[in-house]
Amino acid sequence: MTQTRNMLLNVGPSHPAMHGVIRMILELDGEKIKDVDIEMGYLHRAFEKMCETVMYAQCFPYTDRLNYVSPLINNVGFAMTVEKLLGIEVPTRAQYIRVLMSEISRVTDHLTCVGASAMELGAMSVFLYMIKAREYLWELVEEITGARLTISYVRIGGVKADLTPTFDENAFDKIAEVRKVLIEADELLTRNRIFFDRMKNTGKLTAQQAIDYGVTGPFLRCTGVNYDVRKANPYLVYDKLDFEVPVGSTGDNLDRYFVRMAEMEQSLRIIEQCLAQIPDGPVVAELTGEVMTAADMVDHAKMGETEALVEDEVLLDPTLQGSTKKYYEGISADKKSVVLPAKENTYGNIEGLMNHFKLVMYGHGIKPPVGEVYTAVEGANGELGFYIVSDGRDNPWRVRVHPPCFPIMAVLPICLKGDLMADLVPTFGSVNMIAGELDR
């Protein structure tokens, strides 16, 4: 009598289909997947531990590196949590800018996900088109934040810089380009026999299983559950914007693809509405004096020539661009114990300099009251939550991130069981696993 045994197959940690580093141990019966064991943690960089050792404002660069395809949403989530802890309000214009930036990030995230999963199924050109579209959006992000990926743009109490005067025009151009790419990708994929057959009825998940595992985001919505943090608990200005939440029905890979494609269109609509609704940039201070470099301004101030400096504007290098008095104070909360002063004040007068140092020196900084808060924002993959415990000192006692990928990876074995080995590729692609936020 012949004896048959299941085969164990190791996939990853370094494998082209494993976005980032993760290891899966598959138990195969022929080509059928019987069981999956997931091993993660290869990109663990102790985010939560490191946040306990630095001041609140210094956590932002770490949050950039959680979900590195949509870092702005992480920034917004962290800033909102600390603001809730402090109990402060952010000016409306800054709220619109945050929504604008979050939605741009959501589109870039979905473009990466759909493009990469299409590429893994052989549709290389779609990937290149989508990365081209992502590039347009990153140019927008770069115009405002000065960086493409590790942006650290949001501040507690506001944002770093106001929108540039040319932003509206550029944004409309870029949105039109992205729409063209989406239509093109839709034509290339949706009626593509190979793509369709490999996505349809693979990686299936029921609504009950998804809820049981705490799955959120497109992965939950494709099963027919209408839960989106932006609608359920509207934050920032989402309640003033008109958008729909696309919901699937079958919970397979194809529905996930449709949900993501529809969500991108909705995000583009939100961006357009934000640009139309955003209140005009407040000119906080009419500066009629000369424009000088930071070093010159500091020299003048040291010599005591401070009277003329009130009217002068400082010329900053690109990383600090937008932090000048003219617009900055209109997009930051009016709270000196939280928000850094405009750069003219830091360089030009002693009060501003003291304020600046009181916020950046160890042992001073932002000191929220003792307490604990949890805030959720809708990340590109689902509910992105931050739980912060404060002990009243300038560094957080505990920072916990609820990464949206984590429950999805926990439910992945259920999606894979019973499918063929080749279905692992589209199913895992549709998870959009970001190792940065999964392993932290």
Binding site: T53, D212, G214, V373, G385, Y387, H402, P407
Partner: protein, 164 residues
């Protein structure tokens, strides 16, 4: 009636303290009634917490520079969400330093399975009845639990090469 009031009404004896700081309803319960409270949260139709959103722990050793002395060193923190009623609740359970063990919630909500593994990995809190309690982010040979406050943030444990 808010979820917090409903829990207070049902488990008057099991509750240690409650607060709603910045609108986040929080209830600290005795470890013995964790599972009965959890079952009630999930099964009672007026609460219907179908999502266990997040489960983590906090180490209160030397809290606020040692000025505040907590009776128990750890607290297990669970965030619940109900998609039918759109409300949230935070449930906390004190955990002792000498015997860090609480009941598992992984058979009530499957999402707790991996979260509890992470809490075991990072804090060394055991979960009674967990089906597969092993490390998740760190490797099995790792010594200690990294998010405990007495674990130095710059400590190194090289796997390859001479031991430090």
């Amino acid at each position: 009636m808010t979820p917090l009031e409903r829990v207070q009404q049902q488990f008057a004896n099991g509750i240690i303290e409650t607060h709603a700081f910045r609108g986040d309803e929080t209830v600290l319960i005795r470890p013995a009634c964790l599972r009965s409270v959890a079952n009630f949260l999930k099964d009672s139709p007026e609460l219907d917490f179908n999502f266990l959103m997040d489960l983590t722990a906090v180490d209160y050793l030397f809290f606020a520079g040692g000025r505040v002395q907590k009776e128990h060193r750890f607290e297990l923190v669970v965030h619940f969400y109900s998609s039918t009623h759109n409300h949230r609740l935070r449930l906390k359970v004190p955990v002792d330093e000498k015997n860090p063990e609480v009941d598992t919630l992984s058979d009530i909500w499957s999402s707790a399975n991996w979260y509890e593994r992470e809490v075991w990995d990072m804090f060394g809190i055991k979960f009674k009845g967990h089906p597969n309690l092993k490390r998740i982010l760190m490797y099995e040979e790792f010594q200690g639990h990294a998010l405990r406050k007495d674990y130095p943030f710059d400590k190194r444990q090289p796997l390859i090469g001479p031991a430090n």
